[in-house]
Structure formats: C-alpha cells, structure tokens
Symmetry: C2
Subunit: 245 residues, 2 copies
C-alpha cells in the first residue's frame, strides 16, 4: 500500500441548473488517471434542477397533522413523504424514511439549507448512479480516466454525528470483497466485504467540510476495482437480510 492523497477542489462557483460539473471540476484540478472524484450530492441536485418550490406543494392531511404537532412546515413534510417509499421510523419530530432509491435516512435526504431561497428545497438526485456516470463521461470526454462517487451526509443508528456516504458511483465497484481469502494463519477474515465507496466518501468529507464551499474532493493513489457497469445497488441491503428495517 502506498500513500493516498485527498485533494480539495476549491473555487467552484454557485452551481445552477444545467451546469456541467465534470468540466467545472476539470478546470480547477489537474486530474490523473485513476483518481476518484468525490462530489457532494447537493451540487449534483442543483446542476440537475432537483429543486422544489414550496409554493407549488399541497400538503396531505397526514403531513398537515404531523407538521402541526411538531411545528414543521407541512409543505416540507409533504415533499419528504413524496420522496420516500416507506416510513421506517416516525418518533417525536424525527422522520426516518426509505427513499425511492432505497436509502434509509432522515427526511428522505431533503435539504432546506443552501438551496438559494427559503421557499425552495433540494431533493436528492433522482438517479445518483446516472449522475455519477454523466460526470464521469464529461471528464472522460476531456481525456480524464477517473471514477466518480456522489455523496450525501447521513446519520446512522447508535452513533452521534453524521458521516458522508456514497449514494452513486461510476467506474468503481463500491465493495471490496475478502470472501474466500485467508489470513497468514489460514483463517477466513472476520471482515467479508468493505464498502470502499463509503470510506472514500468519508475521506472526501475531511477536506470538503459542510461550510467550506468545497463540494468536490479528488482522492489519488487508492487502488480500486474498476467497474464500467458499477452502481450503488450492491451496497443497498435487501430488506430480507436487514434486522433494522
């Protein structure tokens, strides 16, 4: 193993719908073959126009009632519910949902901050793997052979503090398997699969931060398994195997 570097990509302007993120990144960092470009989903949502005007939202009676109980905006609650396929936990003011993509997170990943106006909220990209593929294709068209990971900041059970995780990938298999490998003593490893996509997302957050306006990181020197058909699907545990859904 050799050194891995995490490079912040600074200087990106406020992202608007239609922006070509790949080109904008390539202009601001000298990419090398094998780099992993880690992109915060918020700017992907902005580039893809995943904004909802609250004035256009009509809350359901269910959303109205719960929002009233917990002093929330019923239109935001409505969007959260529409972005979900199932409520996983609804306890006090907390709403944990399973999104249409299959991510389990607070408020379906809907973001009311930094969306440019109080009356507008951002949703997660509709297909973050497709988003990652588009960014990767734009970079490839400029001559850069890289992988792309689209990230979001999620909470988790049992532990305080959120971490960045992967919600979409392109060009990199998200898992590293140790199945069938043995240690020097001939034992199988306790670890069977490592979610390298999530570890890359977490590493990227160390230089991105949430206030620093650095929504992209480049990770250099990490040897990953290339996968032209990669998606985040192998990371999403099937409900039949899940003890906490």
């Amino acid at each position: 193993m050799s050194e891995v570097r995490i490079l912040p990509v600074a200087g990106l302007p406020e992202i608007a719908a239609g922006d070509d993120l790949g080109s904008m990144v390539a202009e601001r960092v000298e990419l090398e073959a094998g780099d992993v470009v880690v992109v915060t989903s918020k700017i992907v949502s902005k580039a893809e126009g995943c904004a909802i005007e609250l004035a256009d939202v009509t809350p359901s009676a269910f959303a109205e009632a719960w929002a009233s109980t917990w002093d929330k905006d019923p239109r935001v609650v409505e969007v959260v519910l529409q972005q979900s396929r199932r409520v996983v936990r609804q306890a006090g003011p907390v709403l944990i949902t399973e999104t249409h993509h299959g991510f389990v997170c607070a408020n379906s990943g809907v973001d009311q901050s930094s969306s440019g106006a109080h009356e507008r909220i951002l949703t997660l990209p509709g297909d973050p793997d497709a988003s990652a593929r588009r960014i990767r294709a734009a970079l490839r068209a400029l001559g850069h052979q890289v992988a792309v990971v689209v990230t979001d900041t999620f909470g988790r059970p049992w532990r305080e503090g959120q971490t960045d995780i992967a919600i979409g990938v392109a060009g990199i298999h998200p898992l590293r398997s140790y199945i069938g490998e043995v240690d020097p003593h001939g034992h199988e490893f306790r670890v069977q699969e490592i979610c390298v996509a999530d570890e890359l997302a977490a590493a990227g957050e160390l230089v991105k931060g949430n206030t620093s306006r650095v929504p992209v990181a480049v990770i250099r020197g990490f040897e990953y398994e290339p996968d032209e058909d990669a998606t985040i699907a192998p990371v999403l545990r099937d409900a039949s195997r899940d003890l906490f859904r």
Copy 2:
C-alpha cells in the same frame, strides 16, 4: 482547506502482549505535529493481551443451545455473550450485541481470525480510549504531538459492506459541530455534527486494508479540534435518543 494525506505505516512485526505500539510506530514513520495516528484495534488487543483461550471457556446452556442450532463453537458464543451487556438482535446465525463499552456490533467485536492460534480469540480492548491515550503518551514522550484514533471494522444497518469506525480517541474531539452556524443564505445547516473520528477511521482503512498487514495509518493535514480529555463517549448515542436499539 488544503490537502490531507493518508500514509500507511508498513513494516510492523507481529504484535505480542506487552509491545509498546507508540514506539513501534514512531520507528517506522516520520511523524509531524498535528498528525492523527489511526490504529487498528486488533494490534491494540494483541499488545494488551486481550486474548482468550477457548480451552478455558465453559459455555452456558444458552450458548450451547444456540451454537448447536447454528453450527457455531459454543465457547466462542459464550465469549461473545460475556463481552456484551445486551443482545440487540439475535436472528438466524446473526448475533448483534451492545458491548460493555456501548458499541453495537456483530459478535461483540470478538475476532477469531489472525489471533495466532485457532484455539484463541481476541476481544476488543477493555477501554479503547485508555489504549489511545497510552499510545499517544508514548509518542509524546518521544517528542511527537499527535492525536490517536483506535478503530475497528463494523457493519451497519441498511447497507452492505463494513467500514472502519472509531472505538477510542486521544487528543482529538471526535465530533465537529455545526450547531448554530448558518450558510451564506442565513439557514442553519441540515448537518449538525460530523463524526470526524469515524471519517478518519474510514480514511485510514483505505491504506490499511484487512489483508495487507498495515495496521496503522497516519493522517496528515487534517485540522481537528484538539481535546486533551477526549473520549469516544460523545459518539455513543444514548439509548433514549436511539430509534434502532
């Protein structure tokens, strides 16, 4: 934000009880002030002699019965139960416990691989914060002002693949708070706290790997909040706030 580097610490020998990990690390990497030394708990357990001879274990009737149902070693099951204060989920062959430290993980973090003999298993360090403090003190005695994170590889709900997380810290506050900060539009951040200790653990795994015999990584260039009295306690969500316990 500037670049963050993740350096593997190679060349460590097999660790034995009583080994001084701090000195062994310092001999193999040029440490700089402000580095974060990320240490896999397995070598901490070995250095601290956290090994249990299975020949010395007498399984309870409960451990015997469940082990028999799922073709497990009843002595290992007994150790897993003894290392826990509560069973969180027991479903099929899966046993998710809350350890005496308060970590929720599979099999109380007990490791039957790489422990030097099939008839011996390794448990997590009894007090990983104290372990981190000891390593940090040894490094400080050699003139190195660093922080230390002790890690283990845990699974998580909803997502396949494990990731490295922090189980002990020294000299670094494990959380980065955004509470009360506002974005350029005056909104509070959706993110309230980031668990930087877990992100550092995940980043370290990118160069450590689980087969590569690189149990230590050094992370350089990350600006953390120094905390002489740091512990992992703020990361452990209180059961009263937890929807998945």
